[in-house]
Symmetry: C2
Subunit: 334 residues, 2 copies
């Protein structure tokens, strides 16, 4: 096995979020499905942006948010993802490096713009996302740094990348490198619609490559095409070693081979913005597993990180998750 | 007099804010004066940005914030300012248009990047600003739309523009057009260090062109080189018709020819972020004056808008100032 340099390396869509307020009529006018993630092209991105209220720009991307969380726990993280050589790309790179994540993927030159997720927030705090994937899916197998992947305890893959064939191939290559290096591979299903679009490929990946699966209830029942949560749990149990199924305020169910462990949600005085809850649950869970904690402590780290993220606007932590873990009696080694 | 199209037209530095958290040691290491606004060049902007924590990007610029506030009151505003033809420039344009402000200045091609203000926020909520002026000061007299200025009741000028000669000339031209069109000209001094750098030019502008002056205490005493607030008030009284001197939690003193009127600060349950307090006081005051309210009601609109802005992060209003004015018993005509 290669020398271990990283606890976790993430492969994901490098995206900048553009967040603005709207009312329900705006969603209807713009034909945006409330609470969903819809893929849009560049023309539509321009048209929708022109219609949106004043916004704020913050770095996003599901796996990138997770890696920022892992770095906040003091663990060593790296990231592979593609931005363009434009200003939003520079912002994305800066923010991830500044969070303490190793990120060196070369920017795309002469292609589409850096990906952006246009997020319209209704007064009920629901977020409706319209994503222009832009440069983020233009990474190829060349961008997959085999040495870094082999040196990471866990390779973490973001399901959203399945939305373009070239990215999917790079993604599968990353899983194969991790497996060949005797490392663990983890996947998050990302979105139930994404699972719908690529169910067969996801099923194959889960069976053949995935050691640790992250999903929420909707994604899991979509993967196994069953309306029954317990049937879906049985199905995933047969196919992966570890699964973490998040259930919002009901906490999470962890599967460790046969055994099921229930992790209660961490209490929050006020839920301000649920974006990133799943990303940060994964951050805590992966940090725990990479550092050799047991399933229950790892799940608790996930619940602690998710609770922090939903107590403020934005999908990256505002405070040190390492200190927060310590306050909760969980010590993470150097 | 031309037909009136706008209540207020603003001329200012078109800037995007990059806001990040830091500790006091960071300010010391980076040699940043706490709470001040320092001008930096592009190399320094890159170096400082590389050292900063993850940030968020929001449109800023003092006069642009004021115009966004004026539009939120339902008044008709226009803006003249220069961005580059880059992504931050597009963001700035989008946000101002989306706020309801007419903004059509052509972007700068082939010059420096869109201006950015790197804002480091210490745990005591103080903001230290390092500004790379970039494209914002590369506007020339050609960008001054004489027709728009002549059609606005008040032309509002941002003192920060004095930091480059070409911009200053365009600025003086705007004041001359307004005067020739029998319109009112207003100036905000922007920053006591900016006043220090350009005292003689400011004094001349105030004497010859300015009908409505905005300043805080530090700026006013710097303009008249006196440590005594009352002496500075006497001096300004002799030189402009109307002056609005803001005094943070002590409210504001308005001068209307001879008369002095005290406007108490509007109570706020919690001061979250004082950025934009002066910009939004100007928004309320200018809206009131443009719509024919008396000094006291205009000052109250200013206090109401300032209180809204300091109760949340960011220097542009989160809610409709028009509705807030109505709740406070102040009706603004169509």
């Amino acid at each position: 096995m290669s020398q271990t340099v990283y606890d976790v390396i993430g492969v994901g869509n490098a995206i900048v979020d553009v967040i603005a307020s709207c009312n329900d009529a705006f969603l209807t006018d713009q034909d945006i499905g409330k609470g969903a993630m819809t893929l849009i092209d560049e023309d539509r991105a321009r048209e929708l942006y022109a219609a949106m209220a004043p916004g704020k720009e913050v770095s996003g991307g599901s796996a990138a948010n997770t890696l920022a969380g892992i770095a906040s726990f003091g663990a060593r993280g790296a990231y592979i993802g593609k931005v363009a050589d434009d200003e939003l790309g520079e912002i994305f790179r800066h923010d991830l490096n500044a969070a303490g994540v190793d990120y060196t993927t070369a920017p795309l030159v002469g292609g589409p713009l850096t990906a952006r997720c246009l997020i319209n927030v209704t007064p009920d705090a629901q977020r409706s996302m319209s994503t222009f994937l832009g440069a983020s899916v233009f990474f190829s197998e060349d961008d997959i740094d085999a040495e870094k992947i082999a040196s990471a305890r866990i390779t973490y893959l973001e399901g959203y990348l399945f939305d373009r064939d070239e990215a999917k191939e790079a993604f599968v290559k990353a899983a194969e490198i991790a497996k060949a290096a005797n490392r663990l591979t983890s996947l998050t299903l990302s979105d139930s619609f994404c699972v719908d679009r690529h169910r067969a490929a996801f099923r194959q990946l889960v069976r053949n490559h995935v050691d640790i699966l992250f999903a929420n209830e909707a994604e899991l029942v979509s993967l196994y095409e069953t309306g029954d949560f317990d049937a879906a749990l049985d199905a995933v149990r047969a196919e992966t070693r570890i699964a973490a199924i998040t259930r919002s305020e009901k906490g999470a169910v962890l599967i460790d081979r046969g055994e099921a462990i229930s992790i209660p949600a961490e209490p929050v005085s006020k839920v301000v913005d649920t974006t990133g809850a799943g990303d940060l649950f994964a951050a805590g869970m992966l940090t725990g597993l990479a550092r050799g904690l047991d399933m229950e402590a790892s799940g608790r780290l996930g619940a602690i990180a998710a609770a922090e993220i939903i107590s403020h606007i934005g999908a990256r932590p505002n405070i040190s998750l390492r200190e927060l873990a310590q306050k909760n009696g969980i010590e993470l080694g150097g």
